[in-house]
């Protein structure tokens, strides 16, 4: 990223000071803290697994406002900040905090601005927040957009588990006494939010690992005779493919069908499973290597296309395939290994450094 900024700055003839903050955290630190009970279980009640931490591609911690504050208050003429993983509201909150704003208002403003114009109707574009001693005001930059009490309140709740208490790095934003007041057609005033500092220093860790390689195929079924027995048919497809693909038979590879027009979006919990007059089938294969995934996907696609079924009238093919080639290797598949809160007392997190780039 810094190299990219450097090359753009050179191209444009700028000389820039870049503040750099890394969010990476060492696996050994996580393993050691996990061992001594300093990692909290996930909402599922699960602790991270040691082997999965060891196999993680990288692990980061979510930074709060502190590293941004350090840069903003450093007295250096910083032009650009490049930061690793940060809590979405942190950069905006830090700017307000650096100017002495109330922490409750700074964090609430940061939360609302984290997605720019997503707090406006229609969403999109930018939004200007002006923070005062005991409230902040929001107005969208696009003349066609409005902030409303509902649109701002909606973004306050966005992607959070609870509507009233919004935990983040360093503490919890309590909006249970917040007020949202329409000032005019396009502006909203927010007041009453409070920031409650956490009793101990914690960070949220995020880590992922590669769990396999994926190949997909996609097509449609329009034949009502086949649609009426689709689950049985797809079960037999899987059985057929297993016969020629030992990794699938052994459970080391996966073949999953997503049936659009029936339950492609909700799967097992779909309350209305009556299929449409045509359905789309996405075949998803995950195996230990791309070549193996490709092979299983080809076998599966051919089986969907040609496996016979009871009452079959269309004996030339079962599957309308829009794309050529028909199987598509789409690369590595990742999975979270960590999304857990860890005690961070005594850790040298988020080191800040400065670089000169450009001419």
């Amino acid at each position: 990223m810094i190299e990219l900024i450097d090359s753009i700055a050179r191209e444009l003839g700028y000389s820039l000071t870049v503040g750099v903050v890394y969010a990476d955290i060492d696996k050994d630190v996580v393993l050691e803290r996990l061992k001594r009970g300093a990692v909290q279980p996930s909402p599922r009640g699960e602790l991270p697994r040691v082997d999965e931490i060891e196999n993680s591609t990288s692990i980061v911690a979510q930074m709060g406002a502190e590293p941004f504050l350090e840069i903003l208050l450093s007295g250096r003429p910083v032009d650009v900040v490049v930061a690793g993983r940060a809590y979405d509201p942190a950069p905006h909150a830090a700017l307000a905090l650096s100017l002495g704003a109330d922490p409750g208002l700074a964090w609430h403003m940061g939360k609302v601005l984290e997605c720019g114009g997503a707090c406006a109707e229609p969403k999109g574009g930018g939004v200007v927040a002006t923070v005062y001693r005991d409230h902040f005001d929001l107005v969208p930059m696009s003349p066609d957009a409005r902030c409303t009490e509902l649109s701002v309140a909606a973004h306050t709740l966005y992607e959070k588990s609870r509507p009233d208490l919004l935990p983040g790095p360093g503490g919890t934003l309590n909006v249970s006494r917040a007020t949202f007041t329409q000032l005019d057609d396009r502006s909203v005033r927010v007041a009453g939010s409070a920031f409650e500092a956490a009793p101990e220093m914690t960070v949220k860790l995020e880590g992922a690992r590669v769990v396999g390689h994926r190949t997909i195929f996609i097509g449609g079924v329009r034949d009502p005779i086949l649609i009426s027995q689709l689950d049985d048919f797809l079960d037999r497809v899987v059985e057929r493919v297993k016969r020629g693909q030992p990794a699938l038979a052994a459970g080391e590879a996966r073949l999953i069908f997503h049936v659009y027009g029936r339950d492609g979006v909700m799967g097992d919990i779909e309350p209305h499973r009556a299929p449409a007059h045509e359905v789309g089938i996405l075949g998803e294969v995950v195996a230990s290597s791309q070549a193996l995934a490709n092979g299983i996907a080809t076998s599966a696609r051919v089986a969907v296309l040609h496996l016979p079924y009871p009452g079959q009238m269309a004996t030339a093919g079962n599957f309308a395939l829009p794309l050529n080639p028909m199987e598509h290797p789409i690369g590595p598949v990742c999975a979270f290994t960590l999304y857990h809160v860890m005690q961070a007392e005594g850790l040298p997190l988020f080191p800040v450094s400065y670089r000169r780039v450009g001419r």
Partner: protein
Amino acid sequence: MPETRSLSELAKVIRSKNAGPWEITFDVMFPTREAYELVRDSGVLTRQLIADLYSTSLADVKTCMFFDPALAFKATILRTGSQGSVGERDTFGAQQHAPLLSVAIPVRPR
């Protein structure tokens, strides 16, 4: 039989989204205090209803509450499977709200 209105007729926003990789959260927001209070006081949007709509256990409905300052209802359930990974159906959890749209809310005849 009391007269009913669907939640989609009474609310302005009905949506779902991930709240981190372990949870999906549902937001229902109302255009007026009157509509909000009608739904809140109907007692229809309960933890049990959310568990039934999403075929999950009561224990896995982590949040189910009305929030007066925002004229909003929020429910949060545990996600199954591995978010963004093998077998994922909705990476952002953005299309899991649909069963809420048709929830019937009794309204008093005028």
